[in-house]
């Protein structure tokens, strides 16, 4: 495991970066197994959703997170469930990791009763305050400003929660990134900005749209730590987030963490990816494979146990799907509710 390396822009001079170096937050065995299992649930569930979309059961507006689950879950693992999260569109591990029931997600996706957003937001806007799931902005970059304001509230309320906001590399080119990081930094707000850099924004490679290789180097413009971590390494991610959370809870302000990630599938469910040449190479970098190997080598799970886990989760997913398919569609009358309070 590599230590999370501070972004080049910071050199070794910034004390905040030293703080990151000082911590040592390896995930314990139990955590690794847990992350693996939730990642598997997310992967299987998502694949089933993609299939459902291709069958026409739900709209294809699903953005598979395959390849990015391990890092997402490692990040969440070192936070509290009470730490409010604004997630990105990339996959469902964020919300599955927080414990939102699969049936609720399926109900949101298919406009059936039992969902979390009364048919308003569909799959993209699952919400579950008790689990710290605060939703998603449909316009990319809309989350930065809201996360900043949530951090402002936490600080005024003298709570020790931290806000975690996930977003993509492409999204970091919205102006709201700049305004928010500056203000969060100047006010020392408890926000962790986590950029998942998977090298793509739909069909546009990051190198075409973005002037720097490391999004984390942008932290220099706000005087905050900018940390690059390997999305294939759960420990590295966890450690960086743990340090950022400690810093945030101590009133020292936000951190920008960049996860070098891999997008295994298309931008959305039915994307054929004609524009993409790196697909095979990417499959080999699937963090699930690495973690799988590691768990086996460490004797934490046998191949047998994993196969059993897969069967169990598949059944769980199919059961959830059956349950939701049997639920009634939400009423069109809901078009008129939830706007004003």
């Amino acid at each position: 495991m590599n230590k999370p390396r501070p972004s080049a822009a910071f050199g070794g001079a910034d004390p905040a970066v030293d703080a990151i170096k000082r911590t040592n937050g390896r995930l314990d065995d139990k955590a690794l197994v847990e992350i693996f299992e939730v990642a598997m649930r997310s992967r299987i569930f998502e694949a089933r959703l993609v299939r459902w979309a291709k069958e026409g059961g739900i709209p294809p507006l699903l953005h598979p997170g395959a390849g990015q689950e391990i890092a997402q879950l490692a990040a969440l693992h070192v936070l509290r469930n009470s730490d409010p999260m604004l997630y990105a569109h990339r996959g469902l591990a964020y919300i599955i990791g927080r414990g939102v029931p699969l049936t609720a997600i399926l109900a949101d996706a298919s406009g059936r009763e039992g969902g979390t957003n009364n048919g308003k937001g569909g799959l993209m806007h699952t919400v579950d305050i008790a689990r710290g799931v605060y939703g998603e902005s449909g316009t990319l970059g809309g989350g930065f400003v809201i996360a900043t304001g949530m951090g402002m509230a936490i600080k005024k309320q003298r709570r020790d929660d931290v806000i975690v906001h996930f977003f993509g590399d492409g999204t970091s080119n919205r102006g709201t990134f700049h305004e928010s990081l500056n203000w969060a930094a100047v006010q020392k707000l408890p926000v962790i900005f986590i950029c998942e850099n998977n090298g793509w924004a739909v069909s546009v490679p990051t190198s075409v749209s973005t002037a720097v290789e490391d999004i984390a180097s942008r932290a220099a413009g706000y005087g905050i730590p900018g940390v690059v971590v390997d999305g294939g390494d759960a420990d590295e991610v966890a450690e960086a987030v743990a340090v950022a959370a400690e810093r945030a809870r101590a009133g020292e302000g936000p951190t920008l963490i960049e996860i070098k990630a891999v997008r295994l599938l298309g931008h959305f469910a039915t994307d054929m990816q004609e524009y993409r040449a790196d697909r095979d190479e990417c499959q080999a970098r699937d963090p699930m494979l690495a973690l799988r190997r590691r768990l086996v080598e460490a004797g934490l799970l046998t191949e047998e146990q994993m196969a059993e886990m897969e069967r169990r989760i598949t059944t769980e997913v199919e059961d959830a799907l059956d349950e939701v398919k049997a639920a009634p569609l939400v009423s069109g009358e809901l078009a008129f509710t939830d706007l004003y309070s």
Binding site: P84, G115, T116, N117, N118, G119, K120, G121, H125, V127, I129, Y134, G135, S137, G138, T139, G141, G142, F144, V145, I146, A147, T148, G149, M150, G151, M152, A153, I154, K156, Q157, G175, T176, E179, S180, N182, W183, V186, T337, D338, L339, Y340, S341
Partner: protein, 323 residues
Amino acid sequence: MRQLSYAQAINEALVEEMDRDENVILYGQDVAAWGGIFRVTTGLLDRFGHERVFDSPISENVIVGAGVGAAIMGMRPVAELQYADFLLTAGDEIFLKAGMWRFMHGGAFKVPLVVRLPSGSTSAGPEHSTCPEAYIMHSPGLLCAVPSTPSDAKGLLKEAIRNDNPVMYFEHRLLYQKKGPVPDGDVTIPFGKAAIRKEGKMLTVIAWQLMLQRALKAAEELEKEGISVEVIDPRTLTPFDWDTVLESVKKTGACLVIEEGYRSLGVGAEIGATLFEKALPWLDRPFRRMATPDVPLAATRQLVDRILPSSDGIAAEIRDMLK
């Protein structure tokens, strides 16, 4: 009754609400140390401290967007954009975030945010002069207040702060120094209740803020000529008090809307269309609008004066309508 200026009334509303509820915070460019470029928030920093009254960067997106974020976490932010025109620099945050975050997430949150928007044609050029309330009235999820008197400025702002929905509160820069009676004590003014500023029989005029001043002046003038005009101030545009307007129009049979915003799809368009839908049997005369004639407001006084309705122009229009 006490006489306060419109600016003082706003200031008093802020003080009272911040005294009452510690979740109310106030921020924006120059609102703290300097008390606002129009000096509306003077004294608030001293009274409430930097935790609750603070200056912001020139970052309109996050000024509004952070307000939404803070509001969903239980605060009651009052954010200021230095000029109402700048709401367009925070379009996503106002229209899609403040207006829709609650709806989109199935009502999981409330968004008790107030955005203060100083508006009005001060000959400060195309980007510092407009009354952009029609953009708000077109957009679901947002309430819209347009106070015309010191008393309304106070009462509507107090109501806006207590309201659980996002409120766009337009304060007119050319009214800041205008004085008027303001009742003592904790008086709020409900949203969606228009005020009949002058009763009359022959024609209904609808106007607010600066144009209301001018309309009232014209109406007084006309009264002397025996022309009896009813003048209605809607006070809030969303919700809009259709009952009062319809009742008045059924009595007078004619309606003129006077507004400072752009004419096409200005507020008057909604009023005209709605009357045409709901009051055709009572309407004797064609509807009319006076407004900024679909050109930006220049930085030069003559150009602005040429296009904005004056009280003389309003009187002439009414005479012509009733001919």
